[in-house]
Symmetry: C2
Subunit: 247 residues, 2 copies
């Protein structure tokens, strides 16, 4: 579970996954400090990384793969509150208890930093603290954008928003040419999508089928999505352009 996979980069431009918290403006001095406190952990698809309430003595950055952050009520209702894609950060400095359940939804590698030394580094290197604030503010914006999705969008629009988010992040990392057809793997099961969108898995499945029937997306297998025209997905997702369910 805890394998050393020391990568060979010395500054952030060489860092393929741009550990945003620590590499954004990194210099050799910090990296030397970080070398001492970091280690890598890998998880396989479906495996829990940690449970809400667990003791947590590290913070981490996603190197590869996808994980989810979820919250669950006593009666089992579950809401995903964050999606962790490569370069995303997880863990709260200054808090030794996990607030959310983290689950790997694909094979996952995280770069972990021991919490106490990481906190010390934040306190002593202002630009890292600054970068962490930036990242947290970005996450807050994302959470608020998601509140609009959850509170006011229809099921069809919710699916469109999720596909758009995944496609955008995928394009950033994989350097797909912009303006062209987007093709990517869905890193989530229908159930995980439902938990993100505040829907049931049946509704997710039906809406994906409807988008496919309307020619707005196409699927190869269950997980490979292709979107010929992202703008059309976003603008027409709300319309029932040809009557919807019954051809």
């Amino acid at each position: 579970m805890q394998q050393a996979v020391a990568p060979a980069f010395k500054n952030c431009t060489d860092c393929p996954i741009r550990h945003r918290a620590v590499c954004a403006k990194c210099d050799s001095e910090e990296l030397e400090l970080l070398e001492d406190i970091k280690y890598y952990r890998s998880f396989s698809a479906g495996q829990p990384v940690m449970w809400a309430g667990d003791h947590m003595d590290f913070v981490a950055s996603v190197v590869s793969g996808v994980a989810t952050l979820t919250q669950t009520m006593e009666d089992g209702r579950t809401q995903m509150v964050g999606l962790l894609l490569p370069s995303d950060f997880v863990g709260r400095p200054g808090r030794g208890v996990a607030a959310y359940t983290v689950t790997a939804t694909t094979d996952l590698t995280m770069c972990c930093f021991r919490r106490k030394p990481f906190e010390k580094m934040i306190d002593t290197t202002p630009h890292v603290a600054h970068r962490l604030l930036e990242m947290t503010l970005d996450e807050l914006d994302a959470a608020r954008e998601w509140m609009l999705v959850l509170g006011r969008k229809t099921a069809r629009e919710k699916i469109a928003s999720l596909l758009s988010i995944i496609a955008r992040r995928d394009a950033l990392l994989g350097s797909a040419p912009p303006g062209k057809e987007l093709v990517f793997d869905l890193p989530l099961t229908r159930e995980a999508m439902a938990d993100y969108l505040g829907l049931t898995l049946e509704t997710v499945s039906r809406q994906i089928s409807a988008l496919k029937r309307d020619g707005i997306i196409s699927l190869s297998g269950k997980r490979k999505i292709s979107i010929p025209d992202m703008d059309r997905l976003l603008t027409e997702a709300g319309d029932d352009s040809d009557g919807g369910y019954l051809t």
Copy 2:
């Protein structure tokens, strides 16, 4: 709009509203700096403070009153993404454009800090930066808690969650004795509540009537709420303990 109401406090323990960003661990040196860059602004109930996209050359802390942070889609659907109560902070250092529309829902006074000097202060006084990170992380937690409310709770539970949040904050500030009946003013219209909860105002009104009919809350006028037993509100809000709508 921009009146000087210089209050007479010199450090955070004397500060009745605990400007959290800047007073949490304040010392005289900072306050002297802050005196130069701060000013007060007052708004009356219903008045817009700023629109999403506006140029914004300050950050601010709420002194008294309540404001909302909202996001609106082109077709007019609106979602509140934050509630600003006294001591809450608004504005993003490093960004000169407002991301959300801010509206005063009661008479409101904010303590504003000019953005550029405030940013400089962050960069030069680590504990202020640290405090700002803490606050942002708290807001992120609040946003994520709200995602659970929006995505997975019923209308009745949503109302209960909102009342609980307002009551808790109110109790903190007004120092109500815990465990006793909570009485407070609703600082929001039914429509604003609906925008927070992802409901329509009719549903909000009906659910409040239902809670009243079930004896879980009581109203004096339309806005003064009293909750004899907060636990009961939170645990029974989901139940239709006696059949619900029809007596």
